[in-house]
């Protein structure tokens, strides 16, 4: 074994530049089910870093769930080693091992004959916590997942699907395990609730910083949830293990490209925030300055339009020279109302969407208070997209056919 472990780095993330420690290391895992010729998982090695969400994604039957279930040994590997926090756990007592690893499955699997409190207390009780501590932990967890203590005495059947899923997550985190395994946790939930739960979970992860192995077949979910994504082909062979940004901009081969599907550029845009790009300078004036000052600023900046702000620097009107030729029209009513406003933390995807609906193909960026930060237009976004590409594919200039993200969607 020992001579093999050296090349375990094969499937480490390509950028390699992480300062986290390895939380889970899988070394040459193989799983053969009895009576099957082909191995379900063939020689899989990968490192999973502390505090990251790693998404295993791939087509049905690629072995992603089998791979995940080998980490807590619900499925025992035929060959290979599993190393958790530096300990080889391949042969330790599986029940003890599993109490260190949270486990969330698609069907949730709440115990229907136990109250929510008892469900959550499952692992802490096995670990011998006292009642007081369990009770406090249960309250804390219910709050963490956005429910309250009144749920403690309820039974699972009295809860909605979304609430059950939250309890499933709370139960998995009960004993504060460093690692969570999640098998399509949001798979059986309606799309609206799913999106909400995904957002909540990401926010929660900001606080708890668990190491999470997340299995899904949905590439969009993978892109949204993953700090890193491992795209798996048959027999759990890693096609690419990388950050979502790099997978979208630089897929290693046709398999990955096909799996991402159409609209990779658009998907890529949902990963960047408008605050990541430098907004263009635009002449602005406060309404209180009066007509003359606005006209001067417009001439000085050599732009067709000026953006008017109110006294709290919130965008109000777009005005052209024609609109304010005379002093007849008050500035509050001149030109067009300033719509197409996005907050700094909006994704580029949403920003672009807003731009398309705006008059001039530009969007006004504001901070969370609503005051003006800058203006972004198509050119700025296209330049940003270009800079996301690997260097050898960069255009250096804007080419209408390839760089237009809208056209890219086909």
């Amino acid at each position: 074994m020992s001579e093999k472990t050296a090349d375990g780095a094969n499937n480490n993330p390509t950028d390699g530049s992480t300062d986290h420690d390895v939380m889970i290391r899988l070394e040459h895992l193989v799983k053969r089910f009895p009576g099957q010729d082909e191995a379900a998982v063939e020689d899989l090695s990968m490192d999973i870093y502390e505090g990251e969400i790693v998404v295993l994604v791939g087509p049905s039957g690629c072995g992603k769930t089998t791979t995940m279930k080998m980490i807590n040994r619900i499925i025992e590997p035929t060959e290979g080693r599993i190393i958790l926090e530096g300990d080889d756990v391949t042969n330790v007592n599986p029940d003890q091992l599993r109490r260190r690893i949270g486990y969330v499955i698609q069907q949730i699997g709440l115990f229907p004959h136990m109250t929510i409190a008892d469900n959550i207390a499952t692992v802490p009780r096995m670990l011998g916590w006292d009642k007081q501590r369990i009770s406090e932990r249960t309250d804390e967890l219910l709050e963490t997942v956005g429910l309250n203590s009144s749920f403690k005495s309820r039974y699972p059947k009295e809860l909605s699907g979304g609430q059950r899923q939250r309890i499933g997550v709370a139960r998995a985190m009960a004993a504060d395990p460093p690692v969570l395994l999640m098998d399509e946790p949001f798979g059986a939930i309606d799309p609206i609730t799913r999106e909400k739960l995904q957002d909540e979970f990401l926010r929660l992860q900001q606080e708890i910083k668990k190491t999470i192995v997340f299995v899904t077949h949905d590439i969009d979910e993978a892109i949204k949830m993953g700090d890193r994504i491992a795209i798996l082909r048959q027999q759990s062979k890693i096609a690419q293990y990388d950050t979502p940004e790099r997978i979208l901009t630089d897929p290693t081969d046709d398999f990955v490209e096909d799996f991402i599907g159409s609209g990779a550029s658009i998907k890529r845009l949902s990963l960047s925030r408008v605050s990541d790009i430098k907004p263009a300078n635009w002449p602005v004036a406060e309404i209180s300055e009066g007509h003359n000052s606005v006209r001067e600023k417009m001439r000085a900046a050599d732009r067709e339009y000026v953006l008017l702000l109110d006294e709290r620097r919130r965008p109000k009107r777009w005005v052209s020279m024609d609109d304010i030729e005379g002093d007849g029209v008050p500035l509050e009513e001149a030109g067009w109302p300033a719509v197409a406003i996005v907050e700094e933390n909006a994704s580029l995807y949403n920003t672009l969407d807003t731009m398309i609906t705006s008059y001039k193909g530009s969007a006004i960026v504001v901070d969370s208070e609503g005051s003006y930060k800058g203006v972004v237009d198509f050119d700025t976004v296209l330049k940003t997209i270009d800079s996301m590409r690997p260097p050898d594919q960069r255009l250096g200039h804007i080419n209408e056919d390839e760089a237009d993200p809208v056209g890219g969607e086909r």
């Binding site: 619900i74 003890q96 069907q107 949730i108 004959h113 096995m126 039974y155 499933g168």
Partner: protein, 253 residues
């Protein structure tokens, strides 16, 4: 069932308790009517010897003893067998055991009774053994169905959180199988009360003695007393079992 139970709790205890009380009141009325009717008769010497309080109570106790002893033994044997047969290692022998159980159930109970008497002699214990054979299948079958209907995801979640196999069995699988298993036990109890009437044919006593005597001696009073008491007992025990089902069903199901 679930809905009824919920309604009961929502409306408070009162409707549920009146529901529970209907049957014992009716059964008591039947017994009273029987008593008054027998008292109004001119009993001859044979009837006077049989229709005494001491004799009837003794037969009744025997009958109840058969029913509960049979059920207790069947619960221990059939529930254990049901647990073992639903474990993965037993998958192959399940059809054989279920078939054997089917045969025990399909053979007329009187046949099992007589066969066992031929091999083991007359009296209480061979009769008890025959009733156990006869009541085994419903409990076994229901235990197995009860365990098999437990959602795999619930078991996987339990195992995935580090519960041992036995913890999953005792804290998850068996509690969740309780409603279906109890229904099987209730069937077994009622079957046992019915078949216990046959014990008289191998000198095993119980209320069957009254029925048998009534037929042999052509004494309708004895026959009717024995039959009515057997029926009342069966309905009463079924009533007790229905309460047990309601009380023991895990909350939340």
């Amino acid at each position: 069932m679930t809905v009824d139970a919920r309604k009961g709790t929502l409306l408070g205890g009162v409707p549920r308790w009146t529901g529970y009380l209907i049957r014992p009141v009716l059964l008591g009325a039947v017994c009273l009517a029987l008593y008054l009717w027998v008292n109004s008769l001119q009993l001859d010497s044979i009837e006077q010897r049989v229709l005494t309080q001491g004799y009837i109570v003794q037969r009744l106790i025997e009958h109840v003893w058969y029913a509960f002893a049979t059920t207790a033994i069947v619960v221990v044997l059939a529930v254990s067998a049901g647990v073992l047969l639903t474990r993965p290692f037993a998958r192959r022998i399940v059809p054989a055991v279920v078939n054997a159980g089917n045969i025990g159930f399909a053979v007329p109970s009187i046949g099992v009774l007589v066969l066992l008497a031929i091999f083991f002699g007359l009296g209480f214990y061979p009769a008890l053994a025959a009733f156990v054979v006869y009541a085994f299948l419903p409990v076994l079958r229901n235990t197995m169905v009860g365990l098999q209907q437990v959602d795999d995801s619930v078991i996987e979640a339990g195992r995935g959180m580090g519960m041992s196999k036995s913890a999953v069995l005792f804290r998850i699988e068996l509690p969740l199988a309780v409603p279906i298993t109890l229904a099987g036990i209730r069937t077994a109890l009622v079957l046992a009360v019915g078949t216990a009437s046959l014990a008289t044919f191998i000198d095993g006593g119980a209320l069957g003695d009254l029925i048998d005597t009534g037929i042999r001696q052509s004494r309708d009073s004895i026959l009717i007393t024995g039959s009515v008491l057997t029926a009342v007992l069966a309905l009463f025990i079924d009533w007790l079992a229905s309460i047990a089902e309601d009380v023991l069903r895990p909350k939340g199901l």
